[in-house]
């Protein structure tokens, strides 16, 4: 394997396939330009190759910096899974309508129960609606701009926090248990935040707005 290939392999470790392909292209292009320039200035072919490789620096340092600004394999996987879920929901009209009707039906049932005087179950349904409603309705809301996205995410966070406090209000000392249970949600939110930082807004898929 050519030294520059080894360098590229080191610099693209953990990056997604698309990111790695982009890095390969730009580094090869840069390497060739440096090499050709050195040859044009009278260097021997081997010396030119060595100088071009030295100019690139340490592959591990470059890899760390690439991982901070380009999608890694695990982040690309999160996006792919999100796309699959979204296309599954949107291509299945029965599921789509169930997701739309479910929170609305919950509100109607909660209202009826409240009128009947069954306040506690009504409150429980409203809290559950708050918690799951924003998750179920989110794909169908017209959220296509970063500002709308920020508002929606703030509302989602507040709704979920309120639901948590209402459900576990009496047992907040077990917060560590709740945090452990909801760790996958926190983790995926954190990953989405990282992906948002790495992709220009024009390239955001719908799931990143939510």
């Amino acid at each position: 394997m050519a030294p520059v290939e080894l360098w590229i392999e080191g610099a693209t470790k953990c990056l997604s396939q698309e990111s790695a392909a982009q890095v390969r292209k730009e580094i090869t292009e840069h390497y060739e330009a440096t090499r050709e320039s050195a040859i044009a200035n009278g260097a021997a072919a081997q010396d030119a190759e060595r100088a071009a490789l030295e100019a690139l620096g340490d592959a591990r340092t470059a890899n760390k910096q690439y991982c901070r600004v380009m999608l890694t394999e695990s982040e690309a996987k999160v996006l792919r899974q999100g796309d699959r879920e979204a296309s599954f929901v949107c291509s299945n009209s029965w599921l789509k309508w169930t997701m739309l009707v479910f929170p609305l039906a919950g509100i109607v049932v909660a209202a009826l129960m409240w009128i009947k005087g069954e306040h506690l179950p009504a409150l429980a349904i409203i809290v559950a609606g708050l918690f799951f409603g924003n998750l179920l309705l989110a794909p169908f809301l017209p959220i296509y701009t970063p500002s709308r996205s920020r508002v929606f995410r703030a509302v989602k966070l507040v709704a979920q926090a309120v639901a948590m406090v209402v459900i576990f209000g009496g047992a907040l000392k077990y917060f560590w248990l709740m945090a452990a249970c909801f760790w996958p949600i926190f983790y995926s939110e954190w990953q989405r935040a990282t992906i948002r930082r790495k992709l220009p807004v024009a390239q955001w898929p719908k799931q990143l707005y939510l």
Binding site: E29, H30, A33, A55, L56, T61, Q65, V69
Partner: protein, 103 residues
């Protein structure tokens, strides 16, 4: 010499007046600083991607001497950031000169 954190500003300056590709940006910075500002060229592209993600520059492909090259050009946000960085740098430079005294 490598001043940590100044590379994005130097890149914005390099593409301020006309679009350029990675190799030319790197060579331009080194030549204009007469070799004082040296950096490893492998770290140039992560900085370019970061600026692109932040909307400070945008890229497009163009063919030069029969070879496809990715060019970068500054955006409105990038010009704003460059003006802010310039002002901050002048202020910092003035302050340090005041303390150390001019040679």
């Amino acid at each position: 010499m490598n001043f940590k954190g100044t590379l994005p500003t130097l890149i914005l300056e390099a593409v301020e007046h006309h679009p350029s590709h990675g190799y030319r940006i790197a060579q331009g910075i080194k030549q204009r600083s007469e070799g004082v500002l040296d950096f490893k060229e492998g770290t140039l592209y992560p900085a370019l991607h970061k600026l692109e993600n932040e909307g400070c520059i945008e890229s497009y492909e163009e063919t030069e001497n029969g070879r496809a090259r990715r060019y970068y050009r500054i955006t409105k946000d990038g010009r704003g950031m460059l003006a802010k960085d310039r002002a901050e740098w002048r202020q910092l430079s003035r302050a340090v000169t005041e303390i150390l005294g001019e040679a």
